[in-house]
Symmetry: C2
Amino acid sequence: MSISLVINGFKKYMILFFTSPPLQPFPWSRCSVPKLKRSVLGFLPVLSWLPRYSLRDNALGDLTSGISVGIMHLPQGMAYALLASVPPVFGLYTSFYPVLVYFIFGTSRHISIGTFAVISIMIGSVTEKLAPDSNFPSLNETNGTGGVDLAARDAYRVQIAASTTVLCGLFQILLGMMRFGFVVTYLSEPLVRGYMTGAATHVVASQLKYVFGIDPARFSGPLSQVYLLIDICRLLPETNIGALVVSLVALVVLITVKELNTCYEKKLPMPIPIELIVIIAATLISYYGDLNSQYNVSVVGEIPQGLKPPSPPDISLWGSVVGDAFAVAIVGYAINISLGKTFGLKHGYKVDSNQELVALGLSNTAGGFFQCYAVTSSLSRSLIQESTGGKTQVAGVISSVIVLVTVLQLGTLFEELPKAVLACIVFVNLKGMFRQFLDIPALWKSNKVDLMVWLVTLVCTVLLNLDIGLAASIAFSLLTVIFRSQLPRYSILGRVPGTELYLDTDTYEEVKEIPGVIIFRSSTTMYYTNAELYLDALLEKSGIDIGKLLMKKKKKDSEQKRADKKEEKRAKIKVNWAFDQQGTGSDQDSEIGSYGDNHITQAASTGSESESGKSADNSTHTIILDLSTASFVDTVTVKILKNVCVFRHMCCLTLFVSTPVCVVEQLSIAGFFCESIPKSCLFATVHDAVLHSLRVHGDKDRPQYECVLDMSSTTKM
Amino acid sequence: MSISLVINGFKKYMILFFTSPPLQPFPWSRCSVPKLKRSVLGFLPVLSWLPRYSLRDNALGDLTSGISVGIMHLPQGMAYALLASVPPVFGLYTSFYPVLVYFIFGTSRHISIGTFAVISIMIGSVTEKLAPDSNFPSLNETNGTGGVDLAARDAYRVQIAASTTVLCGLFQILLGMMRFGFVVTYLSEPLVRGYMTGAATHVVASQLKYVFGIDPARFSGPLSQVYLLIDICRLLPETNIGALVVSLVALVVLITVKELNTCYEKKLPMPIPIELIVIIAATLISYYGDLNSQYNVSVVGEIPQGLKPPSPPDISLWGSVVGDAFAVAIVGYAINISLGKTFGLKHGYKVDSNQELVALGLSNTAGGFFQCYAVTSSLSRSLIQESTGGKTQVAGVISSVIVLVTVLQLGTLFEELPKAVLACIVFVNLKGMFRQFLDIPALWKSNKVDLMVWLVTLVCTVLLNLDIGLAASIAFSLLTVIFRSQLPRYSILGRVPGTELYLDTDTYEEVKEIPGVIIFRSSTTMYYTNAELYLDALLEKSGIDIGKLLMKKKKKDSEQKRADKKEEKRAKIKVNWAFDQQGTGSDQDSEIGSYGDNHITQAASTGSESESGKSADNSTHTIILDLSTASFVDTVTVKILKNVCVFRHMCCLTLFVSTPVCVVEQLSIAGFFCESIPKSCLFATVHDAVLHSLRVHGDKDRPQYECVLDMSSTTKM
């Protein structure tokens, strides 16, 4: 039982590593047992569910599910290995080791870890870039394909793939430990779907050579797919008829039976494993028909028997693959977590995004040591795993046992399998991705901005390849957020008669503006890209003319001097427009509601009836800014708000309502509130601010009234 | 008067060009005279104010202001020309032609167009990159500086600067005509100030060689400033003592008198033109002391007399300067508009951002034909122009007349001026920019995110130079917006007793949660980067366990079958927790307010008193999402909201309140509302939703009550 000792030792080490703060001895004294246990269970989820594994409830489901998935692993593993430009047997390895690691560390019960088309093609682009055919001229051997030392090339490609995978795994572990699981949120759904579709075109382009049996040149960098397609078209006259016939037959059989599977989904206990059947049949036909030598149909070739010992990755390669490894890490994780969360939500368990990162990273790192390439969960296999009754990751272990048996005993039987058949298997598995083109009409109807993200991502991915394309798409996707928040809808609010509700006057016909009071609201938070627009919109919507206000102020200042002399006389002359007919008795604080209501009704009727006197009486005396949509404050915002408050000195009162607490805090820190802008400008609701404004401007002699729930209470915090 | 004919023809053409829609004949029939007039006045603002120019009010102010600014133009023009790596006389041209163009097209009355340090150094980086000394080996002439054909080099540099300027001007005109004036909003204030400070370090680094009289190597690309400083340090032992002495004396004099100017600002009618005095004095000393040949102090050298005929730009250069030209266009415009808007706000007139772009673009394009380099408004000159009484751009014209006289008559007198003196003038003019380092403590106190933007911009600008640094800074600045909106503050709202106000329970101690009702609010709009967080926070804050809910639902489903049989019996057994003591008579629609109040008080007291029965009675029956901060909707948001609504089927009711109209529209388009999520889930206020919830869950037998102002009325739009 030395292995369990090793495992236990490793566990202890990892527990220490994960629970202790960095660079400090582990605080045993402070560590309570339940906390330690929680850490262990968090890091090794298998310990929390395997001991309680109920054979009666789960065993049968996991067994059938594991067998079904295992049968899918075999053709997919071999086919996707071609995408990654490594020999097929390494695809089988990839379907084996990482599954076992994920079984221990993973938190999702239903996803099937292993080879996946998009990740495979990403790895393939790295291997082909760093180990092109031209680097491996055949010396004196004759191996049939003319001038390329295939054995050396493939060995080097495997090493590149494994090194990239280890680096990718380390990135994932690192991100997981730094609790950076949130990075995946930058990959929004339309982006991921557009990216998948773009990647699918790369997959198709890379597999066409096997279908036609031709040998186009290799391209890398932007637009490489375009060049590749042009080269394939150029080579079409040299098509190998044998390969084409094999491909067409395989495609027809695969598509037909897959359609049958879909039609009779409910009647069949499990889908017909047509991919496996096609592979076996094609191998037999190829072997007995001798397709390779008779028709020059390219076959899989030597498959080594048994497993290989682990070997360390070639660290010297990391410098040249670091960008690709990071892209693989992010994309692989994004696919994994989105599938995992979907199943988690469906079956009601929690999938921990950071633990998933660690689990996937450990799977990749461990796999990389065993010459696997990067893995993630596959949609098709996961759906089968779930629909055939899989309940836990035990199904994954069973599937990997099937792969193990194949690798150990049956692998060599597939040596005569034509590569064209594997390419066809890849094609039919891409059906789901190409069906995503239906997103275009759907998004056109539902959300045009997301459609734009989808399309830009597709175009970027197709033209700029999978790494730069991803970066460009993410940048574009983030820019759409900026654009959206940069062009807000500005509105003037009015009161719904008989309520304390203030709504957009443009949308609701019933609402009435309060004369002299401008209630302004932006549909989004104000920050530097839209702050100028905010001020412009406020001035335009409210019809305030700064020039006039300035003139007015100057005139007022000069009048002030004259006025000082005959102040008493002036006080009698001045007419308080809204309060002429208003009684002065009933202003107890308990009657605020009805009092305010009267005020406003009064004001509204005055305003609407006396249109002639509008220009004289109806000049704006209060600006109320509804800041309920503000979520943060930057210096530009503070400046603009201060500018608005300048109006205050020009016979306008500026009030702020519904300001969120965090915004008030940030405004305070920014030194926004001062003697001329006291915190009493803040009101909890529009109605309170309107009441206050009418009170102040309606009757200047009364004492200033304290609002019921002034937001300045935030100073208590 | 052929010139005026040409100008009139040009005017007419431009009017046609700007007012007609593209590719269509000008619709004379549809064009009313006032509209045409408005277009003309918009495009040629000079026509709107010059005819009404009041000599009495403005002439004196404009004259003194023009003379003061003209006197500043002379030293600044020559000094900044060194920054642009062109001979000093071209700085004087730059202070002349563009000012006249801006006079016609500009909308700001107080800014002083002309040379500016940051723009000059940006142009200088282009000229030095494309025309390094090494490209101009001296053939057989001996011109004292050893091996560089200065005349050819300078001529080529002037051509590069002029071509870049024309392209920059065309960019600005294009942006202005496309109404892209808003691009400047991406340059937030902290970014611009950080950028200016970073640019100032470049200016200093580039001028040190004149101060020390050394000749360091040229560097370009990232980190070039660091290499330059290292090279200068290496060459320090070779310092030219003569140049250093001249510099130190000039610096001391300049700084002293500038400080005196500041101290006695109010007593002096206009500041002492110390820069001009220093230049004249230095020229005299240099001439009579023969500093150039005796002490090998580098002097300005040959200054051609008179103006040069216009010449077209070298279009073949545009390919290599396009990025720099665009950066110059944006930065120049940003400085111009921020200064213009500041003065506009101060003096109460409108500065049209798009017209400013066109005006600046025309100034640059026209200037470029006359070998000027790019211009913008200078802070120091504009402040002088305004403070010495300038009222209109006539001051600019007067200042350019002074420059013209100098160029025509006095230019050659400055040939013996030491370059070190010009470098010192540059230094003292940078004082304001270096004072911006005081932004650091100020921003530290007021806004840490903006401080980060400031610092990152400075570092990017210093290390990556002015073009890439600007792009990197803008990208970082936009990312901060994403980060800020990605980490919102989530809160559960509770009711302020006795009001219809619902506030954050964490901040306000007085508020009380309504038992069974969770009112959830995010401080920012929900979109793809924070949608997952929203759901997580909702589940955490509300304590909803999806697993338990699923179990409950399953149990309920199985119970349902049994329940169907004995439904009637069950109806009697079920206890409606909140309504036991509640009368059933007074539920007219007119009494909603008081009715609801009673309900909620009831519920609140029940919840707080019977803590023991909490787990049984107090299970959540309603989730109210306050979407008032939402400003747009993407597909991820729709998905998450639908997920929340899944709870609805698990004995929870989900209601949406305060949803902005535009968000409701977008949700409708996205197909969010369906049979299971009707539009009646929308409520105008939290209080309405709470009343509705208590009504439905308090008494299931009553008919579902229609809210007073249901947001579903938006369907009318």
